[in-house]
Symmetry: C2
Subunit: 362 residues, 2 copies
């Protein structure tokens, strides 16, 4: 199934506007509504999805005029960089479209906080990723394990990347990144880089024949898309390892179901079959973790946990049980807390036992 080329989508957008102007109509761009009112959890796919409500951005509406102009400026700049065969960052994009409108003292955009949401609108309107428009998001995250990555002709063997791992670029679309020669059985996605480094040093990926990936906190788009592709194309099971706290559980939910903000990209960024390997507050008793390395929940944690219990995607009884337990015991804990049981406890005892028993949360 061949996708419509991005350039054609941009051209169509532009031609529509020109057509309306020629017919002396009020120029109008149709945009999906991206607020909570148009978001739903799609039980069938297991993804947070964008509904079908649309809004209209029109030129002759004073409340829309500025954003209308910005939308077209960004679309034009994207077409230009695609034509030039280059790519650029969203900050560069902001600078490239910024100028003072002739004969006025008004600038086209004042700050990046003005251009970023307009770009997201454009992505949603064109049903595309910014990466496909040759724009780079922030990048972070690393991979090690039995896979070879073909990045624009350079073949990178992730079995031989020393202490670094392969750095995940912001654009991991098929046009840029191809998977070759992967023999892994599963993917372990780790919230924290320090834990990734520990596991890489122990060659955990070798002894357990897997890929280890860290997103360094909340994974960037590139990392989430990478996980999505490894699961979809190579059929690799995804296990996620985070701190036992509301933030860690939220990171897991974003990897699994997608996020509200980028709901129009959920099928590209979310991985509904991902499983949660740990940590949980229940691990404290199960693995006899000393209580003095737990951290007392603060008010914000308690509030956030309550909110999460109401999300459809945390409704499964195993998650309700864990979230209830967190409130009951009144503490959270970080992955590094396992070090209190010895530096290699995580790689030699905790993870192997969880994987062997398939002791996952859904």
């Amino acid at each position: 199934m061949k996708e419509t080329p991005q350039k054609d989508r941009l051209k169509k957008l532009g031609n529509n506007v020109v057509g309306q102007v020629d017919k002396k109509k009020n120029p109008d761009i149709e945009l999906p509504i991206r607020t909570l009112s148009n978001i739903y959890f799609d039980e069938k796919t297991g993804l947070v999805k964008l509904g079908s409500k649309v809004s209209h951005r029109t030129y002759m509406n004073v409340a829309h005029t500025r954003k209308f102009m910005q939308t077209l400026l960004i679309a034009a700049e994207c077409k230009k960089i695609i034509d030039q065969g280059v790519s650029t960052s969203i900050r560069d994009l902001y600078y490239a479209i910024k100028h003072t409108i002739e004969g006025t003292k008004e600038n086209t955009v004042e700050g990046q906080e003005e251009s970023d949401p307009v770009l997201e609108d454009l992505e949603a309107a064109l049903n595309t990723l910014r990466e496909k428009l040759h724009l780079k998001a922030d990048r972070k995250g690393y991979v090690a394990g039995p896979i070879t990555i073909n990045d624009s002709g350079d073949r990178i063997d992730c079995r031989r990347m020393g202490s670094s791992g392969w750095a995940i670029p912001s654009n991991v679309e098929e046009e840029m990144i191809k998977f070759e020669n992967c023999s892994a059985d599963f993917v372990l996605v780790i919230e924290k880089d320090a834990v990734w480094q520990r596991l890489n040093e122990d060659k955990f990926w070798k002894t357990h024949n897997c890929l280890i990936i860290t997103g360094k906190g909340q994974p960037a788009r590139g990392c989430r898309r990478m996980v999505n592709r490894l699961n979809k194309e190579l059929k690799l099971p995804i296990y996620v390892l985070t701190d036992a706290d509301p933030w860690g559980y939220y990171i897991y939910s974003v990897i699994k179901q997608g996020s509200i903000n980028l709901s129009f990209l959920s099928d590209r960024l979310g991985t509904p079959s991902a499983k949660f390997i740990g940590l949980t507050t229940q691990d404290v008793d199960q693995f006899n973790i000393p209580k003095n390395v737990t951290i007392k929940l603060n008010q914000g944690d308690v509030k956030r946990t309550g909110e999460m219990q109401k999300y459809v995607w945390f409704k499964p009884k195993e998650w309700q049980h864990e979230l209830n337990n967190m409130i009951k015991v009144g503490y959270k804990l970080e992955l590094e807390a396992l070090s209190a049981k010895g530096i290699k406890f995580i790689s030699e005892k905790y993870l192997p036992e969880k994987i062997q028993k398939k002791d996952f949360l859904p």
Copy 2:
């Protein structure tokens, strides 16, 4: 010149304390003073250095007892991980030494903000780097260009790393990282990853036969040590490219002279021969950069610029001139501002012209 092995330094520290206890003396650890009162700019080396003042941390002084205990706990843990041949993060270290003291409700450490400074004390006392004690700092930063890195036996060719580059690990000491087969003429250190990505996409390192490195903001220790080694061992000139603002100029000064906080490591982390390639506020006229992409200085910027003018290391007339100019024109600008002149302006015009004319600040 062979260094004293780290383990011997740790043993000596421990044996000293045991000896004092055996002689019924008050146990005492000698520590260099690391505050501004003991910092000086060494004109000969061009580095921010630590003076010779020392303080004594003694066990029988109630104000010292807790820190004394923590110093020994950290030293003991470091010896343990060196013995095990593993390495770990400073967060893991904190968790590993944290426990409740028997028969009390007192914890050995309460938070990482308590253990981190004690670790820095230990580094200064042993005249070593945490990396040599098998501890990992945060890591960030990337390299591309004509060099092959040997990381624990894995040979990584930075000419063939696609869009990612080689991710700089936290530990780049000689024991871990060896340089092989480098044909670069110089090193360009870039504050911003987005600009690095732009230059990497244009294969700037190929057309100009150089290494391109980004520290993603203020470089982490690994990145600064890497630059230091490339300069010291391979005699490569270092050119630094940052935003034209006080923060960018500060980043440059840290790469060049070292930082006050880590002054005891300046000879390992600083590169006094580094030169500043840009941006400067003077570039705006020189390269005809549109004024509407400049950013008005705020009060904090003005104050900071004034402070920087008083630093010995910004005394050279070229820097005084630039800092005066910044105040005079009243604006700063980011590297991305060059995009207003076209996406490839930085790689095809700005940098080549600066390098060809050797138009650097000292």
